[in-house]
Amino acid sequence: MNAIEVHGVKKNFGKLAVLKGIDLTVAQGEIFTLLGENGAGKSTLINILATLSKADGGEVRVLGLDPVRDGNKVRELISLNAQETTFDEEFTGSDNLRLIAQLRGIPNAAATIADVTARLDLGSFLARKVKTYSGGMKRRLDLAMSLLGKPKLIFLDEPTTGVDPKNRLALWQLIREIRDAGTTVFLTTQYLDEADALSDHIAFIKDGVIVKNGTPAEIKRRLTTTYTLQAADGQGARARQALTAGGVAFADKADALSLDEANAARGLEVLTVDGITVAHYNRDEADLESVFLAVNGME
């Protein structure tokens, strides 16, 4: 059973179609990242999956359950960590954690809270009012509140926004630990390096539809259209001459040559026929930023 299965999901706000037929599958126990520009429909989809909103069409299954029909059962199994940190700032960290533990009806709440706060290194702050916390501490408390009750699926909506680099890395480690403990993580983030570093699978959403979906490596590979070719020492000039004579287009790239998709195979053949040794031949690796820009038509 997949953690999330979404088929043809649509959502309109008045005349505005925000989701126009989303198809998505998230396997259990993975970190899945949904990327897209502001307003692309990420939060709308999360709200549907987390039972906060109803889809206007399509089929949704969360941990095998229908979020509308089985809303309370779904809510027992999931946790939502929204973009805004949400707690009572006038109360202490302990008060806030206890509130969620009581609402979830967690037996032996004190031990559960102690376990979660130890994992997030929050112990020394718990007796202080939340309004005295730094942004990073608030994020950790927020995450601790979401982890109470050991959810099988957690939605992390931009969990590291506004967090300093040190705390960001600590949160990355924690997110990996959450995944390794068996919880499926559904992540959205503004940081493409974060998505690249954490995700098992990534999907790009644009104008209410999923336009790319796969592992980070697959997605980057699909976008890549250039190859780098390096001749053996002392054969660079001969290689250039052979490619030119063979009518193969190329571009100089430091001590190597760059060929596009249409010319790569023919270039390799020409060099081989001419007895030129090819020391390195690589498909160029795009980064997620290039993918994001390409998806959103900015490149």
């Binding site: 906060l52 109803k54 509308v68 809510r75 707690f87 006038e90 009581q102 609402l103 979830r104």
Partner: protein, 260 residues
């Protein structure tokens, strides 16, 4: 039962917020106490209530029930503020993502609001008694006054909900409470309507606060006679208000959080 426990936990959270917030305590408890003392001891001696010997004591006897309802009305601004704050901070969304019965989330705000209004009312009444007010009522009449207070608190709490859910920020969420206060000022709460300008008197006599205050006054003071229809008119305003405001509150809430 988990649902009752959840209602208790969330209600206690909001009551605690109110009781530990200085701004709330000043506005909802200290301010009405100050107004009561100011009206009674600064203005009261100069206000002649027909049929009484006059003086601060007579004014206190007349006006205290009005001040009690005024106190509750001031509390409604903070009902709106708390709900709006929970909405804009995303806390309501967090609660909706938890395994909590939907009605408990807003129900806890309603319950906490009425509890806090009654607490504030009790404080103002104790101050009133400390400065000379005496309840001249049977136990039954006093219980009826308590019931009237609960209905009044419920009605203005339900009135606050649509404003609190719709307002962009907490500053505008409580704006409706000024209308409530204006209605109380232009009613029989603090002065008899008889001495008001004719047009104002017509308005004061026919708006909801005057019969409600008059019934409250009559229940706390057996020496004050309340017209036969006044009780029914007051109840009609209160129950009608609860139904209309309750439906409006549910519709706004359901549209925003229940996907209806």
């Amino acid at each position: 039962m988990q649902v009752i426990k959840q209602l208790n936990v969330l209600t206690a959270r909001i009551v605690r917020q109110n009781l530990t917030n200085a701004d709330t305590l000043i506005t909802v408890i200290a301010m009405p106490v100050f107004m009561l003392l100011f009206f009674v001891f600064v203005l009261g001696g100069n206000i002649a209530i027909a049929g009484t010997a006059g003086g601060a004591g007579a004014y206190l006897r007349y006006a205290l029930p009005g001040f009690l309802l005024l106190t509750m009305a001031m509390g409604s601004a903070y009902t709106s503020l708390r709900i709006n704050n929970d909405r804009t901070s995303g806390f309501l969304s967090r609660l909706h993502s938890l395994p909590i019965h939907r009605w408990v989330i807003l129900g806890s705000h309603v319950l906490a609001s009425v509890i806090f209004m009654v607490l504030a009312e009790v404080v103002v009444m104790v101050v009133g008694i400390a400065v000379g007010y005496r309840v001249h009522a049977s136990f039954g009449a006093f219980l009826a006054f308590f019931g009237l207070s609960l209905l009044f608190g419920l009605a203005i709490t339900l009135l606050a909900i649509p404003f609190s859910l719709k307002a962009d920020n907490y500053a505008s969420a409580g704006g409706f409470s000024y209308v409530l206060l204006m209605l109380l000022f232009v009613s029989s709460a603090l002065m008899p309507t008889r001495g008001m300008a004719k047009a104002v008197q017509v308005f004061a006599d026919n708006q909801p606060m005057t019969p409600i205050v008059n019934v409250a006054r009559g229940l706390l003071d057996s020496g004050v006679s309340v017209g036969g229809n006044t009780i029914w008119i007051a109840l009609a305003w209160l129950i009608g208000g609860i139904v209309v405001c309750g439906v409006a509150a549910y519709r706004v809430y359901a549209r925003m959080y229940l996907g209806k």
